[in-house]
């Protein structure tokens, strides 16, 4: 049936040509790639895990909003950037102990998230505006948030002060080796990186638990399934939307602080760089899938880290998009996404 359609024929021919071209390139470069020894692969694995956990945590916010409302919230990356600033500036300006920065940024991110919903999304929903309008409106909200950050914080990079980081126990930023006994592999990882991984995965686990097990989480799933039915079941649809934006904002805030702890260069444009990564993560993993976002985050980190490791750092940013392209061709619902969720 498909073969008889000339458009599809052309499409599959184009796909085949592209894949062949890719394979030829790979075959040409392969000896070179194999020749370059990847120095201590286990070391890169630890990088993949801690960088990936931040990517996953960040991308989860997109997935959460998309799964409940069916729209992409493009202001998520700006909320992430604000989360980072709330963490860093509360230390620099108000000497807030570093332990409080995470809950503070989560609260702040959550509140910004709700404001974005009230200002950029809710008015459009009331008018039954198409999803594309909501997408563009969220892009506007993102620009406003970035501009506000420029006004307030300037554009030179900010970071957690070194002295504050030293307050953390066990010299948090100094790498120490961990050996895995029978594998003989040696990992170098800092306690700070361990904390980042633990915090990120703990938050992701909490979210999964909330959505899958609690009554409120089930109400969120009912809203995602059908808003009319949700209303008939006494579920306040607007309330669930605001909760969703609060949770997504809180995740962005947390990811922002973890990012600022990991990289000493926070600017108002940090979010823009993360936005593309985060969107790649959720499309790779499957739009609206929590587990997919976790897997996608680790994958994108792996592409970046290993591309650099084999000396192709110039490919670092391209590789995730190559993977994205292939996924869209062969598995458009993403690795762990369900094939087109039925909406009644």
């Amino acid at each position: 049936m498909q073969a008889s359609n000339p458009v599809l024929k052309l499409k599959s021919a184009a796909i085949t040509a592209l894949v062949m071209l890719g394979l030829a390139l790979l075959a040409y470069e392969l000896p070179d790639i194999l020749d370059k020894k990847v120095l201590s692969p286990e070391q890169h694995l630890t990088t993949v895990i801690w960088v990936g956990s931040v990517y996953s945590l960040f991308a989860l916010g997109y997935a959460l909003v998309f799964s409940i409302l069916g729209v992409l919230n493009l202001s998520h990356s700006a909320v992430f950037m604000w989360g980072g600033y709330i963490g860093v500036m509360s230390v620099i300006r108000y000497d807030v102990p570093i332990y409080y920065t995470l809950p503070l940024a989560m609260l702040g991110g959550g509140i910004i998230g709700v404001l974005v919903d009230l200002i950029a999304f809710a008015p459009l929903r009331r008018r039954n505006a198409p999803r594309i309008s909501q997408l563009i409106s969220s892009l506007g909200a993102s620009a406003v948030l970035v501009n506000l950050a420029q006004l307030e914080f300037g554009t030179s990079p900010e970071r957690f002060p070194r002295t504050t980081l030293k307050e953390l126990p066990y010299e948090a930023t100094v790498a120490r080796p961990y050996t895995i006994g029978w594998l003989g592999a040696e990992f170098r990882i800092t306690p700070l990186q361990v904390s980042i991984v633990v915090i990120a995965f703990a938050l992701m686990f909490l979210l999964q638990y909330l959505v899958a097990r609690t009554k409120t989480g089930k109400a969120m799933r009912v809203v995602a399934f059908n808003q009319k039915v949700a209303g008939l079941l006494s579920i306040s649809v607007g309330g669930i939307f605001r909760l969703t934006f609060f949770l997504a904002g809180a995740l962005a805030g947390a990811a922002g602080v973890l990012y600022a702890l990991a990289y000493p260069s926070l600017t108002p444009f940090t979010g823009d760089e993360m936005a593309l990564k985060g969107l790649t993560v959720i499309v790779l993993g499957g739009l609206g899938s929590i587990r997919g976002a976790v897997l996608g985050g680790l994958l994108v980190a792996a592409f970046e880290v290993y591309a650099t490791a084999i000396g192709y750092s110039w490919l670092k940013d391209a590789l995730p998009f190559v993977a994205l392209f292939l996924i869209l061709l062969f598995r458009p619902q993403g690795l762990l996404g369900e094939a087109t969720v039925k909406r009644a």
């Binding site: 009554k215 799933r221 399934f225 009319k228 949700a230 209303g231 008939l232 006494s234 579920i235 607007g238």
Partner: protein, 236 residues
């Protein structure tokens, strides 16, 4: 006569330029089964959705139990006990049968939820057998029972059923109407929207006929059943 449980005054609804309801008025007395019959597109579902707050009304008033509920949000309306079983059942397919019933009790804080679930399982043994199955895997008849069961979990004071017999085999249609009588016998007031006018008039106490957004006939169901005009238009 006491004040009716539900009173609708001059209710109008339009979708853009299309007028769906042109100022209809009707009443539902407590303890009765009232039916709203009419052809496709007459405005039956629109009426229920306007009562539930899902569709915005253009004008008119809705009184439920002496309270003006016009323009109230759907979640508030249903909390008052004005509960709708929507057309096409609309059970939550990816959740289990048990979870669907629990969602019916979403806003309830009392301790009798478990007791009510057992009651519903006693009434619909098929649902008990399939309590751990995904609701989407049920047959059409079972889904309708789940939809009704889920609505009963909300302890409705007035249960609105939108085309409960739609798409069901004749044997199951009879079963649905038996359930309606059973619910009435337990003291719940019912507003029934049906295309199957013959069966609807049999279980109803009072009936309204909707025709292109207006009420063309009304009267005790037993009388309408014998009205030659109704017979030729809807029972023929």
């Amino acid at each position: 006569m006491t004040t009716p449980l539900l009173e609708v005054k001059d209710l109008s609804v339009s979708y853009g330029a299309i007028v769906a309801l042109r100022g209809i008025s009707f009443k539902v007395e407590a303890g009765q089964v009232v039916t709203l019959i009419g052809a496709n597109g007459a405005g039956k579902s629109t009426t229920l959705n306007a009562l539930s707050g899902i569709v915005k009304r253009r004008s008119g008033q809705i009184w439920f139990d002496g309270q003006d509920i016009s323009g109230m949000r759907p979640d508030r309306v249903s909390r008052l006990g004005l509960v709708q079983v929507p057309e096409g059942r609309q059970i939550i397919a990816p959740m289990t049968v048990l979870e669907n019933l629990q969602m019916g009790a979403y806003k309830r804080r009392d301790r009798e939820v478990q007791h009510d679930i057992e009651n519903i399982f006693a009434r619909f043994p098929r649902l008990k057998e399939r309590r751990r199955q995904k609701a989407g895997s049920l047959s059409g008849g079972e889904q309708q029972m789940l939809a009704v069961g889920r609505a009963l979990m909300m302890r409705p004071r007035l249960l609105m059923l939108d085309e409960p017999s739609m798409g069901l085999a004749p044997l199951l249609v009879n079963e649905v109407f038996r359930i309606i009588q059973d619910i009435k016998a337990h003291g719940t007031t019912i507003l029934l929207v049906e295309q199957n006018a013959r069966k609807a008039l049999k279980v109803a106490d009072y009936a309204y006929v909707l025709e292109r957004g207006t009420i063309s006939h009304q009267g005790p169901a037993a009388e309408l059943q014998n009205d030659p005009q109704i017979i030729s238009a809807y029972l023929g």
